[in-house]
Every structure is written in C-alpha cells, then in structure tokens.
C-alpha cells in the first residue's frame, strides 16, 4: 500500500476531459512533483485528491482509504496548502486555527500544543491575535501551512504553494518540505515551476492536457530520452540563421546556437561548421520537458538580452 494511489483518475466537464485516466502512486516518505503548464489539470488532480470535486471515473486511495467510500478517514490523513489560501478574515489566526483544529477532531490539550508548535514553525506566533483580514498575502500563506500541518497529516498536498508569495513564504514552504521529509511524510507538489519541483521532488510526473505523459526520477526521465532527444551546442559567433541554416520542422533552437532535435543531425552540423564547433551534450530536464510538452513540434526560445532573433 502506498500513501497516495491514483488509478485511472478522470474528470470530465461537459465533453472535455480535464483529467484523463491519470495513474500514479507515491511511496511513503517520497516527494512527488506534479509538473505541467497552466491548464494541464494539476489543480484538478489535487482537488480530486482532497475530495473537493468528485471524479468522473477512476479511484483515489489515501493511506489505503478509498476517498469515495471512506472520505472522512482519507481526508483526515491529508494536509492541503494551495495558492491564496483563505481564512475567516474577521477571526484572528489563533481563532481560525482553533476552528479548523476542531474540524479535525483534535483534543483540546493536543490542539493547544499544536497551535503553539505550528504558529512558531511558520513564524506567526507573535501575530496570532491579529485579525487575518489584516495579514499580508505571504503571512496568509504561512498561516495556510500552519493550518495544513496542524493535525499532523501523513500526506501533504502543495498546490502552487509558492506562487505569488514573498521570499519568507517560499522559504517556509521549502523548510516545511525538508522538515516533513525527515519525518517520513509523503508529499505531493503540484507546480508549473520546474526549478521548484526539481529542487524538492524525488520523482516527477509531467502533465499535459490532463494526461500524465511521463513519470519518474529526473535522471530516469532524462535517461529515457537519451537517443531520442539530442542537444548540440554550436560554437559560432553569430546566430545560426545568419549562416543560412534552415531550421527543420523537428528542431528546437534555443539561444540561437543550441539545437535540440528529435533525430540525429550531428553529422549535418559538423559538415557545416566543423567538428571543433559542434558539441553533443545531455539536454537539461527543462529542455526535456519543453520538448515533451511541445510534442516535438518546432519551437524557438530566445534570450532577450542576446537579441538574437
């Protein structure tokens, strides 16, 4: 049994499948990163995992509890942090957390202790009696973290948790992930920021238009594309176009002089620029994902400072 098990999960709105037969599982103590562009279905998956919306098909199990059959047990094992977390603005942080603590059926003595621990952890203990309405966005997000871990969940879901918040908030979330990892908690992070996912996750799932197109460790994913995706650095002083190099349909040209291609074009480049100028290197994870998300269609990405195109 894995703490998070998702099987053929599907959510259809009208005729459009927002999540399409997604299957994955996250082992105990692992950090799983769900990566995808905006609208790829990350938040919908998180909402399906928390029971906020009902699936059109498939199954979710949290700590062995089927979310459809035993929603209360499954939800009790979950903590949830999402972008722009909201609280009752007329209540103080302490009152808000007390209310949510009661919803998780924490005993009064345990709740008192957890309130102190969590508010100190996110650095809001001194602000605990202030109305949440007067909090900044970053403070609210940190309060959101406190709320998510208040009941000491076995599984934590972070949905775009670092977007739109201050450095302190981002740092608190990273610390939280590192801290929970030491406690053998299972964490699922959904984000469109590769850097964040790469930094924190043990394994990654790449979502595209509601489908999980790749799952594995960063190295594993990169290795799986070795021989399929090639990256060439061409050391010439000017953009490749200036040399009259026609970029074929399957090429992905980055920074003018880096070529990523789905087929071997090394010899053609060597023939044009010479063996000294052409170097074959491993594509970065970002490039791998961009290539995957682009579905190997022609794509150009330029650095504005270079002004190459």
């Amino acid at each position: 049994m894995f703490p998070i098990e998702v099987e053929d999960l599907t959510k259809v709105y009208g005729t459009r499948a927002v999540v399409d037969r997604v299957t994955f599982s996250v082992p105990q103590g692992h950090v799983f990163g769900l990566l995808g562009p905006n609208g790829s279905g990350k938040t919908t998956i998180i909402k399906l995992l928390t029971g906020l919306i009902r699936p059109s098909g498939g199954r979710v199990r949290v700590m062995g509890n089927d979310l459809a059959r035993h929603p209360l047990q499954a939800k009790a094992a979950l903590g949830h942090v999402y972008s722009g977390m909201a609280f009752y603005s007329h209540l103080s942080a302490l009152e808000n957390l007390t209310f949510f603590g009661r919803l998780y059926r924490l005993k009064r003595s345990v709740l008192r202790q957890r309130l102190v621990e969590t508010l100190e952890f996110v650095g809001l203990w001194d602000e605990r009696k202030k109305r949440v309405g007067a909090y900044s966005q970053g403070m609210r997000q940190r309060l959101g973290i406190a709320r998510a871990i208040l009941h000491d969940p076995r599984v934590l879901l972070l949905d775009e948790a670092t977007s739109g918040i201050d450095v302190q908030g981002v740092n608190a979330i990273r610390e939280l992930v590192y801290h929970l990892r030491t406690l053998d908690k299972t964490i699922l992070i959904a984000s469109h920021q590769l850097g964040e996912i790469e930094l924190l996750s043990d394994s990654i799932g790449l979502l595209k238009a509601g489908r999980l197109i790749s799952v594995g460790t960063p190295e594993g994913i990169k290795a799986s594309l070795r021989g399929i995706l090639r990256k060439y650095v061409v050391r010439v002083p000017r953009p490749l176009d200036d040399f009259g190099v026609a970029v074929a349909n399957h090429w992905f040209v980055k920074d003018s002089n880096i070529v990523i291609a789905g087929e071997d074009i090394g010899s053609a480049l060597v023939e044009r620029f010479g063996a000294q100028a052409v170097q074959t290197v491993d594509a970065t994870l970002e490039e791998v994902f961009l290539w995957m998300l682009g579905d190997a269609q022609p794509h150009r990405e330029t650095t504005p400072s270079r002004g190459s195109r």
């Binding site: 909402k47 928390t50 029971g51 906020l52 919306i53 009902r54 929603p71 209360l72 047990q73 939800k75 009790a76 979950l78 949830h80 999402y82 722009g84 977390m85 909201a86 609280f87 009752y88 603005s89 007329h90 209310f99 949510f100 009661r102 919803l103 998780y104 059926r105 709320r147």
Partner: protein
C-alpha cells in the same frame, strides 16, 4: 455530535458577528418601534373618530354592556367593530409592526443568505472547509441551523429591545398570556424568516456568485411583495355585500333619542320598561343581522386563508392575526350589534385554528432544509 454543535455555534456566531446582522437587528427594532408610533396614532384617531361622529366621547364601558338599548345604540351609531378589540399590552405594537415585518424579515433574510455560501466559495474558505474530514451533510445542516438560530436571536433582540424602549413611552400592561402569545409569534416569525434564509442559501449555493445570488434574491423578495399586493387587491376588489343594519321603526327611533339624552344610568334603565312594543322585535332583527354579518366574516376569513397559498406573507399574517386575537381587525365597517364580551380563547384554540398554515410553514421549511443539505453536499469547490 459535539463537533456538529460546535459547527452550529460557529455559523451562528459568524452570522451574528457580521456587520450586516446589525442592520438586520436595527430594521426589526425600527419596525416594532414604528408599531408603537402607529399605536399612539391609532389611539388618537379612534378618540377623534368618536369625538367627531358622536359628540362627546362615550366610552362603551360607561354604558351597560349587554343591555338592550346599548346594543341598539352601538348598531345604529355605526360603530367600527375593530375599535372594540383589545388595545392593551404588547399586542397593538406587534399588530402594527407585523405587516411590515412580514416583508422586512424575508427581504433582509434573503439578502443576508445570498452571500452565505458564494462568499465562502469566492474567498476560498469553502475549499478549506470542504477539505476537512467533516461530512458535507453535517456541514450543510450546521450552516443552515446556525444561521436560523442567529436569525431567531436577532429577531428576538430586535423585538425585545424595541418593546423595552417603546414601553417607556407608551404604557403597556403585559399579562402572562399575552407574553406567551407574543413569544410564540416571534418563534413563528423566526421560522418564517428562516424559510427565506434557506431560499437565499440555496440560491447562493447554486449560483456560486455573490452578485448573481443577490440579484436573484432581490427578485424573489419583490415577488413575495408582488404576490401580497395581488392578493390584497383580489381580496378587496369585491368586498362581500354586508347588509345594512335594519333601520328602526319611528317609535323605536324616538325612544332611542329620548334614552340617549338621559345621562343617569339608573334613569336609563328605568326607561327600558317603557320601551315601545316594536323595540324587542327590532332588537331580534338586529341579532339576526349580527349573525349574518358574523357568518359572512367567517366565510371571508376562510377564503382569505386560501390566498396564503399564493402569498406566504398573507398566510403568516393570518397566523399572526389569530395569535394576537385580531382575526377580524381589518378596516371593515360592520354595522352590527356587539357580541357579548368574549373571553380570550386559549392559545391551543388559536394554534388549532391556524394549524394548516403552521403545518405548511413547517413542511416548506423541512423541504427547503433537505434541498439545501442536498445542494451543499453536492457542492464542488
């Protein structure tokens, strides 16, 4: 169970602590206070009515209630029957305020509830709430019950506060029976308002948007008012043809004229033995007339009750009229002798009388409650 009660308390306190609740409370208080002002005005109007039509005021109590010539005097002097009903205690301000409350309470209830769920969805609190391990049914029930309790508290505070303040300006003699009826009326008004809270919450849940819900609720509020106007117009469009009081024969008229000139009650009573022979048959015809009018009033009352199906405000108004022992207190001139002094009916008789309306109110409440719980449990946030 303790978590459910905690949630009920949470939603009730949320409602009470919201700024709009104060507005609600003030509106209720102002309505009842306006009842006091109307009451003072009504008493003044009644006094001037007697003054202008009958010369110096002749309080009924000063005459021999029930004596033959008093009955004739009352009938022939076109006394308004409504002025004979009790105007003591807390009934009159409540009587004056109830028609207003029957529109203010639903409208404010609808407006308050229109933000109930949609605001939580818009702010994102609903996500945090629904992600918690609490059954959506329990969450929905707690929300609705908490809101209803808070509303009942606000109505109670508004009514109680206004009566307390108003009684310092207008003397009120309150007896325990009136107090029980007054409290019962408040409870029924609370249930009636709760129906509209439930409607507002349902609209809020389905629309998921505060502004859209607000407009729908304003529309429902206007529809309630429109239905009342329609019913009122229907009710008064064709007033029943109340028969005129039979005119006394000349000899009786002359006799009454002589009697009305005698101020001394003993002398008046002595005059009764010298009444003309036509007097007693005339009195009998007056009683027949009174019975006819009473039958027509009862038939109209029953007809008006059916209109409660179209206009909920008018349905509850019938209940209020019964509880305030004010059933026929409409501005209908009834030229008939007064019935013998009525002993107040028991509260159970009043409740039995309005059982269909009360049952309807409870059934509608239960139906809406079930619908709300269903809608909230199906809510996706």
């Amino acid at each position: 169970m303790s978590l459910f009660l905690y949630l009920v308390g949470h939603f009730a306190s949320k409602r009470v602590r919201s700024g709009t609740a104060l507005l609600f409370l003030l509106l209720v208080a102002v309505s009842v206070f306006a009842g006091f002002v109307s009451m003072a005005g009504e008493q003044g109007r009644t006094a001037s009515f007697f003054q202008s039509y009958y010369g110096p005021s002749q309080p009924m109590q000063a005459l021999d209630i029930g004596s033959a010539h008093t009955q004739v005097w009352v009938a022939t002097n076109q006394n308004l029957r409504i002025t004979e009903r009790s105007s003591q205690g807390i009934f009159l301000p409540l009587r004056m305020a109830t028609p207003w409350l029957l529109f203010i309470l639903p409208l404010v209830g609808l407006l308050l509830a229109s933000r109930e769920v949609s605001q939580d969805i818009e702010s994102g609190v609903a996500q945090t709430l629904h992600a918690a391990p609490v059954s959506p049914v329990a969450l929905g029930m707690a929300r609705v019950l908490g809101d209803s309790l808070a509303t009942a508290l606000l109505i109670g505070l508004g009514l109680g506060g206004a009566i307390l303040v108003g009684s310092r300006f207008v003397p009120l003699g309150v007896n325990s029976a009136e107090l029980v009826r007054g409290l019962l009326l408040m409870l029924i008004l609370g249930l009636y308002t709760s129906v509209f809270l439930l409607v507002g919450t349902l609209v809020s849940t389905i629309s998921r948007n505060s502004l859209r819900a607000l407009w729908v609720c304003v529309g429902i509020g206007l529809a309630v008012f429109g239905a009342h106007l329609m019913v009122e117009n229907l009710s008064t469009a064709q007033p029943p043809p109340y028969p005129n009081v039979p005119w006394p024969p000349a000899s009786v008229n002359e006799y009454l004229y002589r009697v009305s000139g005698i101020q001394d009650p003993m002398a008046r009573r002595a005059m009764e033995s010298r009444a003309p022979a036509e007097f007693l048959p005339y009195l009998a015809s007056l009683r027949t007339h009174a019975a006819t009018v009473q039958r027509m009033l009862d038939a109209r009352y029953q007809d008006d009750r059916w209109l409660g199906l179209v206009s909920p405000a008018d349905g509850i108004r019938q209940v209020a009229a019964e509880l305030l022992q004010d059933r026929h207190a409409s501005a209908t001139e009834i030229f008939a002798p007064l019935p013998p002094a009525e002993t107040p009916v028991s509260i159970w008789v009043s409740l039995r009388q309005t059982f269909p309306e009360l049952l309807g109110l409870v059934l509608v409440w239960l139906g809406l409650f079930a619908l709300n719980v269903r809608a909230l449990s199906l809510l996706e946030v």
